[in-house]
């Protein structure tokens, strides 16, 4: 292979790389690449959201958490700035789960407006703090608001 051919390969590879990156960066893939819906999107989708397996992400509303040990069910509200969705998750709350924390749940929206979740994931923010006296966990998770 002569140098000219090789350098043509270089130009070709760089072009493919540049176009690829450009498409991902500016191609509005965000619209089709949604890892989770927020409560507002789920509420606005209405009936269309029923029955489909989706992920819902938001903040666990304060004083909304109820753990029923006999039924092995954890119920809580997942909220964003506008809306709040009732969630029932099968299984015990994970260690990090608490009010005011960001969560992503996997499951289906029921006709009764309750999201039936079979997987509960807790979102940790990018803040790493030393424990302080009297600090509320909700304050530590202030950044999940703009997730």
């Amino acid at each position: 292979m002569n140098p000219t051919q090789r350098r043509l390969f270089l130009v070709g590879a760089l072009s493919v790389a540049g176009v690829g990156l450009g498409v991902v960066a500016f191609g509005n893939l965000g619209e089709s690449l949604v890892y989770y819906w927020d409560p507002t999107q789920l509420v606005e989708a209405g009936d269309k959201a029923e029955g489909a397996t989706v992920r819902l992400g938001g903040v666990v509303e304060t004083e909304s958490v109820v753990w029923v040990e006999e039924a092995n069910e954890l119920s809580f509200q997942v909220a964003d700035a506008k809306h709040s969705v009732a969630v029932i998750n099968r299984g015990a709350p994970p260690q990090m789960f608490r009010e005011g924390i960001g969560v992503v749940v996997e499951g289906t929206m029921g006709a009764d407006g309750v999201f039936q979740s079979d997987r509960l994931m807790v979102k940790h923010s990018n803040e790493y703090r030393a424990p302080e006296e009297g600090t509320e966990s909700a304050d530590l998770y202030a950044t999940v608001e703009d997730m």
Partner: protein
């Protein structure tokens, strides 16, 4: 200097020393994380691995450009060395992330954009290494693996930006503003340790690759991995 001892051995010792010191600080001196407790200390391992892993893959990109431009064995060896060290770091990154995810997120793995793009990144650089293994003709190997490296590299900025561009379960970028100062110092020390470790490993691996390529160029019909069969002397 003792014979056989090179500058990269010094860098290796420095890197390991900084890693040991940084991890000692992270494990025993820095405070527990407010939400995660002791589990949060994996930060000092995971974040440096991520930073240096992505950096190492960007060296593959530079080496691949140099390789296609010059056709030189030195750059070709650099592609091989940096891609291999990058794959090791990226594999470690995925394992560490999984270990951290289970107690904090409550899952070992989820297909969120950060995790998915990172997995694709690991696989695509493994493909580069496989290509180098299966192609015997040196010039063809140089071209194909360099082109594959450049294409694979596209994903590196995407991995980095994924937490900003898309909704993820993974947390966004950490910065000194989001990390308390007693935690920043061990993180920085460990990151420099990881950086020096990667530089040293890439250099050591480069020497091996370069030696092999040079041997191959001298005896092209006889690849070094293939031992020559010697027939026993005639038995009388």
């Amino acid at each position: 200097m003792r014979p056989g001892l090179r500058w990269e051995h010094g860098v290796l010792a420095l890197g390991l020393g900084l890693l040991a010191f940084g991890h000692y600080q992270g494990l025993f001196v820095a405070p527990r994380e407010a939400m995660m407790g002791d589990v949060g200390r994996i930060l000092y391992v995971h974040v440096p691995t991520a930073w240096v892993g992505l950096l190492t893959f960007s060296w593959v990109f530079v080496a691949a450009i140099g390789s296609l431009w010059s056709g030189s064995m030195k750059w070709d060896a650099a592609v091989e060395a940096t891609a291999e060290v990058g794959v090791v770091l990226c594999s470690l990154l995925l394992v560490q992330g999984s270990i951290w995810a289970r107690p904090t997120w409550n899952v070992w793995w989820t297909w969120d954009p950060r995790l998915t793009t990172t997995a694709v990144m690991a696989i695509s650089f493994v493909v580069v290494l496989i290509l180098r293994r299966v192609i015997d003709a040196p010039a063809r190997r140089l071209t194909v693996s360099a082109v594959a490296s450049i294409v694979a590299f596209v994903n590196v900025p995407i991995v980095y930006m994924s937490v900003k561009w898309w909704r993820t379960l993974h947390q966004p970028f950490s910065s000194p503003e989001t990390v308390d100062s007693p935690m920043v110092t061990p993180l920085r020390i460990a990151a420099f340790g990881m950086l020096f470790l990667s530089i040293a490993l890439c250099t050591l691996r480069w020497r091996i690759a370069h030696k092999r390529l040079a041997a191959e160029a001298e005896a092209p019909e006889l690849p070094p991995e293939q031992p020559q069969l010697t027939l026993p002397d005639e038995v009388s």
